[in-house]
Symmetry: C2
Subunit: 265 residues, 2 copies
């Protein structure tokens, strides 16, 4: 196992930092990695907002409902950016509808996310610790306001990083056989047994976020999440539309009922 | 610069491979990295389809309009997977609406993309080469059929990899100052000058995909892309809905006109 893969295998969320600054040289490397990240059709449809203003950090912490957002040494918000290319097109007197279509949006989302992971890998390779903030999507409209995001942009994910001040356990994942399939989507025949085993494994894991208490089984976590959705998160597409993207969905096309999903008898 | 960052800075798409197999030990490491990737709220809402069937590879190459999809040594398709957790909930007699909301969808998209980048980094750290296939979204409904994807799943991006049989140039990126902002979204004052410079840089870059011809300026590439959209790509949300996700958008909410986007006078 090489050093890169070793670090990747040791990934865990670091939520408390020493406060010691990240050196300019390290930041430069990290940002260059961000810039060199793969991008859909070369269009570079993502951008980064580095948040250094304590007031804005506090406002984001409020959205995230995670006070430790404020205590990150560095905080980057990765965004869909279809605005920059629309401006470039506009400068060339091109106002094609496609500048605001959902293809643009999803390419931007993918670009932003690839960048966020690449940055996190670079951060961790330097001995720093990092944490993702998907929780900025608790209220995307608020984040748009806090960061003065123009039309045709959208917040995707945040990454906080710095020198770690905690050493959390590695969080156990479900067995690969439950998520890696060959040629077709198909659960392994013993998936129920595997899930029971994984449920037990999760119950022996401690999450530092929750006062060092053991966590629920994975199945119970799933149930609790689905039964207690954060209201604004489910209506994210409305804000996508408000940002100027054209959802282009046929309202008349009937929505099928999901029916029974489980393949188990 | 450490070895991890060195590899990240040297990322380029490899589209032709020697055909020599990737060893089982390497594949094992790569898949374990995929599994250990960060995941939104721990829900692990993504899965991987490893495509080894030449008929399926050919069908995907057809969707991608890229014959070299067939010549990848390994081909992984990363998918949104809200199905697995919906099945787990169903086993517990929970049928909460949120199992099919867009929060689930976007969490899955982010999870799948983080995984795809982490896999690519691991692949490249081993001396292998990789290429992303965003082109699977040329026709997501076709990909769903080819890979027998159930409801509440969705294809996000493909990654092909193997031992490289070409050594492409590094593709130049726009200057960081055009995509990294502090606290607010704001172009640098000399953005137009920077763009002119970058346009020139791109014109001196050769893309191996296109018979070693020089490529257009970045601005011209943007214009051409926007003026020639691939039809089905813009209507991706329709397929998302067909996969059972609840788009929840107010049809009555008026869509604002974009107006002038450019901040330039």
């Amino acid at each position: 196992m090489n050093q890169t893969i070793k670090h990747q295998m040791e990934h865990r969320s670091i939520r408390e930092f020493s406060g010691e600054p990240v050196s300019d040289a390290m930041l430069k490397s990290i940002f260059e990695v961000a810039n060199q990240t793969a991008t859909s059709t070369g269009m570079q449809s993502s951008s980064i907002i580095r948040v250094t203003d304590p007031t804005k950090k506090a406002a984001l912490a409020e959205v995230c409902k995670q006070p430790y957002v404020m205590r990150t040494t560095e905080l980057l918000i990765f965004i869909v950016d279809a605005y920059r290319n629309a401006v470039i097109a506009e400068q060339n007197n091109v106002f094609a509808e496609s500048r605001a279509d959902m293809d643009r949006f999803f390419q931007g989302w993918t670009d932003a996310t690839l960048m966020a992971q690449n940055v996190t890998t670079a951060v961790e390779s330097l001995g720093l610790g990092a944490v993702f903030f998907g929780s900025i999507l608790n209220d995307p409209a608020a984040v748009i306001k806090i960061l003065d995001l123009p039309k045709l942009t959208f917040p995707v994910v945040g990454v906080g990083f710095g020198w770690p001040a905690q050493e959390p356990q590695l969080k156990p994942r479900m067995p690969l056989s439950m998520k890696l399939f060959e040629n077709s989507y198909q659960f392994p025949v013993d998936v129920e047994k595997k899930l029971v085993e994984y449920d037990k494994v999760m119950q022996t894991y401690y999450d530092l976020r929750d006062a060092n208490k053991r966590v629920d089984s994975f199945s119970l976590q799933v149930v609790k999440r689905l039964e207690n959705p954060i209201e604004k998160r489910g209506t994210i597409l409305q804000v996508v539309q408000d940002q100027g993207f054209n959802l282009k969905v046929s309202a008349s096309r009937p929505k099928e009922e999901l029916g029974k999903l489980s393949p188990f008898t």
